[in-house]
Amino acid sequence: MKLFVSEGNPHCLKVLAALEVTGAPCDVQYVNHDETVVPFLSRPALPALLLPSGLHLFSPNAICQYLFEVKGQESSDLCSQWLEWEATDLQPALLQALHMAVLQGKASNLPKFLQGPLNYLDQGLSKRDTTYLTGEAVSLADVVLWAALYPVLSEPSLALGEGKSVKAWFGRVAATHGFQSAAQKVLQGKGLQGMKSYMQRQPSRQSSQCRDTQPCNS
């Protein structure tokens, strides 16, 4: 099993953190952002995991799920729900926000994109009143959401005004052994600027920005 990652790519933070938490045995290879690892995809996609069968996983969340399962932790309905929300709601908002902050230098616009998702997360946390997202131990959902939000929540200067529950949860997960070293590997301590070369290669997502675009299969 071999994991391909690239520096400064925020999605790689998820899988490296999952690797640290689970201790799953896996080779890690650093490659360039443009390296084509997954043969059937039109654009280079990292991280990618080469499975023992020879198949590639290209979704960071599916890779994390696999690493947790290899160590015997299956995901619950609640975990699945947070992962789906992360992929369909949080990621499009984060991509726009990071595009704005990293490439256009408009960090002050971040709350406009992230306030909604952060409120949703805050309500989810305060409603259940557990230490972590799905219970009293760090789960797959915590790793994925923590890593997704790390670039924006680890910068106090951004003043996102995240709710109390999010702030406390983020701090608790951050204290978990191994997460800081995963963050250091990906962002090199450079914060948002550490992602610049990665963000420059991302297409600006017109499709999700433009609400007027008619979805083809609604």
Binding site: P39, F40, L41, S42, L51, P52, S53, L55, L57, F58, S59, N61, A62, I63, Q65, Y66, E69, V70, D77, L78, S80, Q81, L83, E84, W85, A87, T88, Q91, K127, R128, Q206, S207, S208, T213, P215, C216, N217, S218
Partner: protein
């Protein structure tokens, strides 16, 4: 759209009592009102729950590896296919066509939830394809035709004529 898919999935799974659904937000994300707990939100989350309720967990994959592959294509379905634009369609069809080159199913060598939801989601795209495009994406159309003929899967969708018989074209003479 999503609610019809879930109701078709319930029938495929032969669940006795139909569930009550609502939607939330402007993207009309499905919500399952669950009697014994908090409501479940999201097409993939609810579909996975239904599969477990019907005790058909082989549809989620038989090994850790295939469960991850199933997860990946379910995520692809709701992140890439949902709300895709005309420009995205070509990329999606091209990627799936390459992936399905040597495969009959999206994961493993058997039907999984990934095939079912991908089939429901991609049907509107296939309906709109011209004959030449159907031949261009021949692996997708082969897989699609397989799905719509798979016992019990098609349900709410009308059948689509995808391929003409190309065996006797005379090219090899």
């Amino acid at each position: 759209m999503a609610l019809r898919e879930l109701s078709s999935l319930e029938k495929y799974l032969e669940l006795k009592k139909p569930n009550k659904y609502s939607t939330q937000g402007d993207k009309k994300v499905p919500v399952l009102q669950n009697n014994n707990g908090a409501p479940l939100v999201g097409l993939v989350t609810i579909a996975r729950h239904l599969v477990k309720e019907a005790k058909r967990t082989e549809l989620l994959g038989d090994s850790a590896e295939s469960r991850a592959v199933v997860h990946q294509w379910l995520e692809y379905r709701v992140t890439r296919l949902n709300g895709c634009t005309k420009d995205d369609i070509k990329t999606i069809l091209k990627e799936l066509n390459l992936y399905l080159q040597d495969k009959s199913y999206l994961a493993e060598n058997q039907l999984t939830l990934a095939d079912i939801l991908m089939y429901y989601g991609i049907q509107p795209l296939i309906v709109d394809l011209a004959v030449q495009e159907k031949e261009q994406y021949v692996n997708v159309t082969r897989w699609f035709d397989h799905m719509q003929h798979y016992p019990g899967v098609r349900r709410h969708l009308p059948p689509v004529v995808v391929l003409r018989n190309r065996i006797y074209t005379g090219r090899h003479h």
